[in-house]
Structures are given as C-alpha cells and as structure tokens.
C-alpha cells in the first residue's frame, strides 16, 4: 500500500477520543491519517471461558504499562507518584481495558470553583455537552436506565440496563433501608446486539478481553469498520510535532520498519491521553533545544496540574451465595448519595461508588481484600472459606474528585528511554488532603452499606498508593492564554494548527468515570472544527 503522507487532519492516538473525533471528520468528507503507536488487541488472548482465566489473562491484558512492557509502551517512572496510571497503548486505547462504567459529569462538576471554591470552572456547561452525550451514548451502545435523580433529566441510554444480580439486589435493598441513593449500573456494554457488538453474557471479563465482543471498546465500535477516508497506521510512534512558520504542520513519526517519516496535516490533533500528549508536547520542544519547556507552553502548564483520580475500596462477603462471580465487571449498580458537596462532612466535593463483583477463586481469597485471618482462611478452613467467598464477595470502588495542583506534574526523564531512544516520563503526584478526607469518610459510609446488606466480612482497604486508568489536566483548557494551554475548543493558544482532545484539557477531574465526557468533548471539538472550516 502506498501511503500518502498528507491529509486534512492528522490524529495521534486511536483511543476513545481519537476514534470519536476521526469518525465525525471522515463522515464529513475530510481525510484523516491516524497514527497509533500500538497494534490491534489480540482477542485470542481473551480467556474468560477457561478455568485458568485468572492466571493466564494477566500478562497480555496487564493494565500497568511498566509491568506489561510491550513494544508500544514507553517508560513511566512512578516512584514519586502515589498513583500509577494504567493505560493501553494500541488500537482502542484505554477502552480495551476499561470497565466501561459510563457516567455523564453532573452540572456542578463543571462549576467547582463557583459552587465550592476549589479547582476551576470549566469554560462549558452541562447543557452544552448534553446533546453530545446523547450521540456518543448511541455510538457506544450504552446500556442503562433513564431517570437517575442524581442527574438532570436526559435522553435515555439506547439499550436497557443489564439485569441486576442477587448481590446487587441485596445492596440495593440495603440502600433503600438506609434511605441512600443507588441506581442500576450504566455501562458501555451492549445488553442486546448492537452494530458489531454482541449481547453481554456477563462473563465479568471486561478488563481481560471480552470474549463476546459485547463491551464497547472503540477498536470494535469505531475502527474495525471505518471510512475509506481514514488511514489508520498502527505500530507507528510519533516522536515530535513538526512546526513550520509558527504553525503545527504535521508530526514526525517512526514507522514499523524503523524509518522516520513526516506526516502533514492542516490540523494536528493529539489524542494520546494526559500522559502521552504532555510527553509529546515536551518532546517537541526538547529535541529542538530551543524550548526545553516544550511547545504550546507559554503558560508553563504543559505537564502540570496532573490529576489521577484518587480511589478507595471497601470489600465485603455477603452472607450467602449471591452470583458475584459473574456480571458486568464495571458496576452492577452505583451510588451518588454522597456525590454532591456538603462541607459539614469535613471536605468539599464528593465521591462516586460503583459496586463490583468479586470474581473467581483466586480473586476472592486475596488476603488484602477478603482475608479474615490466616487460620480462618487457610489450612483446614480453606475449603469452607473458598466456598463461602466464591459468589458472595463484592466491593464498593470509591472514586473522589481530584483537584488541580501545579505541583503535581510529569516531566521527561532522559534516563529511561523507549525502544526508539525517546525519553520516558516521570510522574510527581500526591493526592490532596481534601480528596483523602473524602475517601476516608466515604469508606466509612460504604462499610455501613455492606454491613446493612448483611455482609459477614466488611473490610476497608488501607488508603495509600494505588492505580488508576484516568489521567487529566496536563494541557488545561481555558480562555486566558496565561493560565491555560488550549482554548475551550481544544485549540492550542500558542500553536496554530494544533488541537488537543483527550483528558489533558480537563480543568478538574470530576469524581465520575471519564469516558462519557471524553467522548462528548471530542465530538464537540470535531463539530466545532467542521463548522469553523465551513465558515472559513
């Protein structure tokens, strides 16, 4: 195949935002070259239907790139970060691994400064995002139930919710007794056949390669069948932006054969997540020697304001077998009872809870999660312990809003190089006190929730170093070039021709899972770009 090396638009990254953005532009007639550093996911590695799924699925679907160490992964040093970022560098991006929890931001999420005096307001409102949410929910076959009182009225998800299993029912009943909010999980998982997606059969393997192709990862929903105007190039590593005449004119990339090529476009769009995008901006200045602080960085905020979503867990063993080996892995149900801010709790902003299944025999016997004591769990007690835990183990996964802090940042690290000799990154991140107080308080409530549900074991996992698949803030959007990297449409203030569409541009993290807002923002930016071209 002869590759043209020029297109209307060059997109870096074939994850969620790159997929949504590219489809919109290609459908409108634009040519798009998409450069993806990794390969297609190999679903022959999906092991859900095998008894050894817990053992054999991990090497391939390992979420921590530093452990996975595939050819597409660049080094990320996390010794100075309390949270390790999980990601998938390949076609589909983070959606290959995500649990597919699907949450819109709430109206107050986008006005944290006005409402609670912390973080920043977003330069857009919920009402503006709503129609974009509607569209991407259709495109990603979202399953759920309309009418959640934690949100303004909105268009129902296109598919009905997944059935609530016994463990979900028991916790829902407990919340009803407590007078607390809960709602059936909304997930980007097809509850009935939709497009290329099959119906979910509740393997609970969303993060280990869905064997049904029921989870809406964009390698399936957006990239498998794509417009002929889209030239998707895999195993192609972008090494720097090409800047000519003060404008971003393209990118320099290393193709699978190791040759360096320049790919040009009238617009260059970065969709490489908040770590990868900031790395590329820093690399682009670093190599020139003229701008060690990177490009598009008059504000000095490229790589700064890193947010990674502090989180916590409360695990429990319900009294009887409750079907918790199966189900949608993401969330059987969720609670936003304590999502909105109430300063009397000792912190501002809030947290979202998602109820997750326990998993298989190895997962439900982990000492840190479900241990009652060595003699109670192992030795002569082991058969009884395993039978009691399997099908009854559950956990509340709690996620707090992260606040931007310029002292949380990433930088290039020239001591750790990727296979092409490009520097990796080092993260500097400490969760703020407000978020930690929020998590601690919510853990207490989540323990009450499981106790009310009749759990015979309730365990608050220690707060501390953890991991997260969510990264934000390293190229923040705003209206003032002195305090932001891109404008509210993702266009770089300081570098014409460059647009950023991933989580880098988020002013705050919200406390919900980000996929819905990532997709909606990418669609909004695509339509704005199209409208701008038309008017020009």
């Amino acid at each position: 195949m002869v590759h043209e090396n020029e297109a209307d638009v060059v997109v870096v990254g074939a994850g969620l935002t790159g997929a949504v953005f590219t489809r919109e532009l290609a459908d409108a007639g634009l040519s798009v070259i998409v450069l993806e550093q990794g390969d297609w996911p190999d679903y022959s590695q999906a092991r859900a239907d095998y008894p050894d799924v817990e053992t054999t699925s991990l090497p391939y679907w390992q979420p921590n790139p530093s452990v996975r160490g595939s050819a597409a992964d660049y080094p990320i040093a996390t010794d100075l970060s309390e949270i390790t970022p999980n990601m998938w560098n390949g076609v589909g991006g983070g959606t290959v691994l995500y649990s597919a929890k699907w949450h819109r931001a709430t109206p107050s999420d986008l006005r944290a400064r006005t409402m609670d005096g912390v973080g920043d307001d977003w330069p857009i409102d919920y009402a503006e995002l709503a129609p974009y949410y509607d569209q991407v929910e259709r495109d990603l076959a979202v399953s759920g139930l309309a009418g959640d009182p934690a949100y303004p009225p909105c268009t129902p998800p296109p598919n009905p919710p997944m059935p609530i299993r016994e463990f979900g029912r028991q916790v829902a009943q407990a919340h009803n007794r407590l007078g607390w909010h809960w709602w059936p999980g909304i997930n980007a998982v097809a509850s009935r056949p939709t497009g290329l997606l099959s119906m979910c059969r509740q393997h609970g393997a969303c993060g280990k390669g869905c064997p049904e192709t029921a989870k809406a990862s964009v390698d399936i929903t957006h990239w498998r069948e794509r417009s002929q105007r889209v030239d998707l190039r895999i195993n192609t590593v972008v090494s720097r932006l090409v800047i000519e005449g003060g404008r971003c004119a393209g990118v320099e990339c290393i193709d699978p054969e190791g040759s360096t090529t320049v790919v040009r476009g009238r617009q260059v769009v970065l969709a490489a997540n908040a770590v990868g995008t900031a790395r590329l901006l820093l690399l682009s200045g670093d190599a020139s020697g003229a701008a060690a602080e990177g490009v598009a960085n008059r504000s000095g905020l490229v790589g700064r304001r890193l947010m990674l979503h502090p989180n916590a867990t409360v695990a429990g063993i319900l009294a009887d077998e409750a079907g918790s080996t199966a189900g949608v892995w993401g969330q059987q149900l969720y609670s936003m009872e304590f999502y909105e801010s109430d300063a009397s709790r000792g912190f501002v902003r809030g947290a979202k809870w998602g109820l997750q299944q326990g998993g298989g025999p190895i997962a439900v016997t982990r000492a840190g999660m479900y241990g009652r004591g060595l003699e109670k769990d192992w030795g002569a007690a082991f058969p009884e312990t395993l039978r009691a835990n399997l099908g009854s183990a559950v956990s509340w996964r709690i996620q707090a809003e992260d606040q931007p802090d310029v002292d949380n940042y990433l930088e290039l690290d020239h001591d750790i190089l990727d296979p092409h000799g490009l520097p990796g990154v080092r993260l500097h991140y400490t969760a703020d006190d407000n978020a930690m107080r929020c998590l601690e308080w919510n853990q207490e409530r989540a323990a009450e929730s499981l106790a009310e549900a009749g759990a015979t074991l309730v365990k608050k996992l220690p707060l501390g170093p953890t991991h997260s698949g969510h990264a934000f803030g390293t190229a923040v959007m705003g209206t003032d070039p002195a305090t932001s990297v891109v404008n509210p449409w993702g266009a770089a203030h300081d570098l014409p021709g460059l647009t950023i569409i991933d989580g880098s541009i988020w002013p705050t993290s919200t406390a919900v899972n980000p996929s819905a807002t990532l997709a909606a923002l990418a669609l909004r930016t695509a339509r704005h770009l199209l409208a701008t071209r038309r008017s020009a």
Binding site: R47, D52, P149, I164, N176, G179, H203, A326, G359, R533
Partner: protein, 165 residues
C-alpha cells in the same frame, strides 16, 4: 544443586514452597492436599511456564526466606500480617496450580468466567421499578447549578452533513 529447567523453580525453592503449600492447602477427606493435587510439582510447572513473571517473583520471595531460621508457619504468619501482597503471590500461584487439578475444579464447580445465557430482550421490568421506587420517590439529588458566563463560546453543533467542507 538445581536440576530445574530455566522455566521451573529449583529444587530448594520448590521444597520451600512445598512446606508452605502443605500448611495452606492440607486437604481433607474430599479434597487433595496441595502436594496430592500436584500443585507443587507438575501443575506448578505448567503454571509457571504460562506465567514466568510469577516464577521470577517467587524466586525473589522464597530466596529471601531461610527455613533454618524461620519456621514455615511463622513465615506465613509474618507474610499474612505484614506483607499481604507477597502472601497473595504465594497463594495465587498455589491456587492457580491447584485449580488445574480436575478433581478440585469439579469440587468447586469452577469452569472459568463462562458467562450465562441472557434474555433476548432485556428490560427494566416491574421488579426493578419496585426496587427503585424509594430512590425515585426521594426526587432529584443533584445540585441546581447556574450556567457559567462564557462570552464568545456559543455552542456550535452542526450535523456532520451540514458542515461538509
């Protein structure tokens, strides 16, 4: 003296693991012990061949334990109390091997995350609505939020067809 291939634990470390395994999984009248199931011999080798990363971690962990100085039961107690991740490494590896034994899987009725048949047309249904009634009855819990003042940022959401260049 090691007689192991490069994918297997050497004899000394395998014996250390055996000592732990027999304490953790002693078996009973219906279940074999770890050793009886082959979980520290052939099935362990199969597991570590699939997961060489586990072998490397086990070598690091077990290599740091001197059974002459610390009894196996005390070692397990220490791991459980102070290093749960390392304890989980031992139990996860042993269970992975143990569950490769067909009689253990049959006893547990565990065949993997095999999924289940689902209704062809799922729906919220009356039972769910009844369960949700208290939540709905409480009404909205989101905070009314005034719109921001975003001069010059009027929404523009033309359809793709309208905006073809």
């Amino acid at each position: 003296m090691s007689v192991a291939s490069d994918q297997e634990l050497d004899d000394e470390l395998r014996y250390r693991l055996y000592e732990l395994a027999e304490l953790l999984l002693p078996g009973n009248e219906t279940l074999p012990s770890a050793d009886g199931a082959g979980a520290v011999t052939t099935l362990l080798d199969e597991t570590l061949a699939l997961r060489p990363d586990l072998r490397r971690q086990l070598e690091g962990l077990l290599g740091g334990w001197d059974p002459e100085q610390v009894e196996a039961s005390d070692y397990l107690q220490d791991l459980y109390a102070t290093r749960p991740r390392e304890f989980d490494l031992v139990t996860a590896t042993l269970l992975a091997a143990y569950l490769r034994n067909p009689s253990v899987r049959t006893w547990l009725n565990w065949h993997g995350a095999v999924g289940e048949a689902q209704p062809s047309e799922p729906s919220a249904g009356e039972a769910l609505e009844e369960l949700l009634r208290p939540v709905r009855d409480r009404g909205a819990i989101y905070r009314p939020t005034p719109p921001g003042n975003h001069p010059g940022l009027q929404p523009s959401a033309p359809t793709a067809q309208e905006s073809t260049p």
